[in-house]
């Protein structure tokens, strides 16, 4: 993943063919985090606790649907990824990078939950199998793209740097 150009509105990257395939694979996995994972509060003294929890789940569900539609549109958009001799050139607006970060982090956190490592049991070591290895690799690949996008939007990732 190489940053080519940073503009006020758009940021252009170059992806190797294997990186493009991995990014598409991650996007197709979305969403992975179960709705019940999110709790509004740990306390029991909250007013209208159940109602507010329901509103949170509805709000997250609406965002997931919106993100899923954007993912589908991106995956099916012809001409978004332009093939070049070195790989694929692709431009994202800063707004698109924002929802891509949400999507990628959902896939990362969802894989972590699938490994059994909830916030209450962070010390749990998953038993290694083909299935758990796949989750671990998904987490690492999602982190790779997240860091690429974060470095680009923060200005730390200079054009031409891989």
């Amino acid at each position: 993943m190489k940053l080519l150009r940073t503009g006020q509105r758009q940021i252009q990257f170059e992806l190797a063919p294997s990186e493009k395939a991995l990014l598409f694979h991650l996007l197709q996995l979305y969403p992975l985090v179960p709705s019940a994972h999110h709790r509004l509060s740990k306390g029991r003294k909250m007013p209208d606790r159940e109602e507010n929890q329901r509103l949170l789940e509805e709000s997250l569900q609406a965002r997931r649907q919106e993100n899923r539609q954007q993912v589908d549109a991106m995956l099916n958009e012809t001409g978004r990824f332009v093939e070049r001799p070195a790989g694929y050139q692709v431009s994202f607006t800063r707004g698109e990078i924002e929802w891509l970060l949400q999507v990628l982090n959902d896939v990362r956190v969802g894989s972590w939950i699938a490994l059994g490592s909830t916030a209450e049991h962070p010390e749990m070591e998953p038993e290694m199998s083909k299935q758990t290895m796949s989750h671990v690799m998904t987490m690492d690949i999602a982190a790779f793209f997240e860091m690429g996008f974060l470095s680009a939007v923060s200005g730390e990732f200079q054009p031409g740097h891989e």
Binding site: V33, H38, R39, L40, S41, K42, G43, K45, M46, P47, N52, L55, L56, S59, L60, R63, E98, L101, Q102, N105, D106, R108, V109, W112, S117, A119, P122, M139, A143, E146, M147, L150, S151, V153, S154
Partner: protein
């Protein structure tokens, strides 16, 4: 409609007392971000900047507090706004909750 101006500070009532009474009338809610071993430090910093509009140093300070102390109180707000912030943070899959401020 009467047009008599209301003094901002009533005679005999000190400003501090007025400030304190706000806490009783409008309970505060703390928006807390909890540590987990999955969210990347740079990602957490970025989300704080995006959701609260903080500059990078302030966002990093809170991110490090989460990392080192297990949690960080991000803001204290009324219920509606605190809920809004928790919704925003959870859309980024951060482990955030709101808790009633007992102080």
């Amino acid at each position: 409609m009467p047009t008599t101006a209301t003094p901002e500070v009533l005679p005999g009532i000190e400003q501090d007392e007025q400030t304190d009474s706000r806490t009783d009338l409008e309970p505060g809610y703390l928006v807390i971000c909890w540590d987990d071993p999955v969210n990347l430090m740079d990602y957490v910093t970025h989300v704080f900047q995006t959701v609260f509009g903080w500059h990078r140093k302030k966002a990093e300070k809170h991110m490090l507090e989460v990392h080192k102390n297990g949690k960080s109180v991000l803001v204290r707000e009324g219920l509606e706004k605190a809920e809004f912030y928790v919704h925003q943070l959870q859309k980024y899959t951060l482990h955030a909750t709101l808790e009633r401020d007992s102080k």
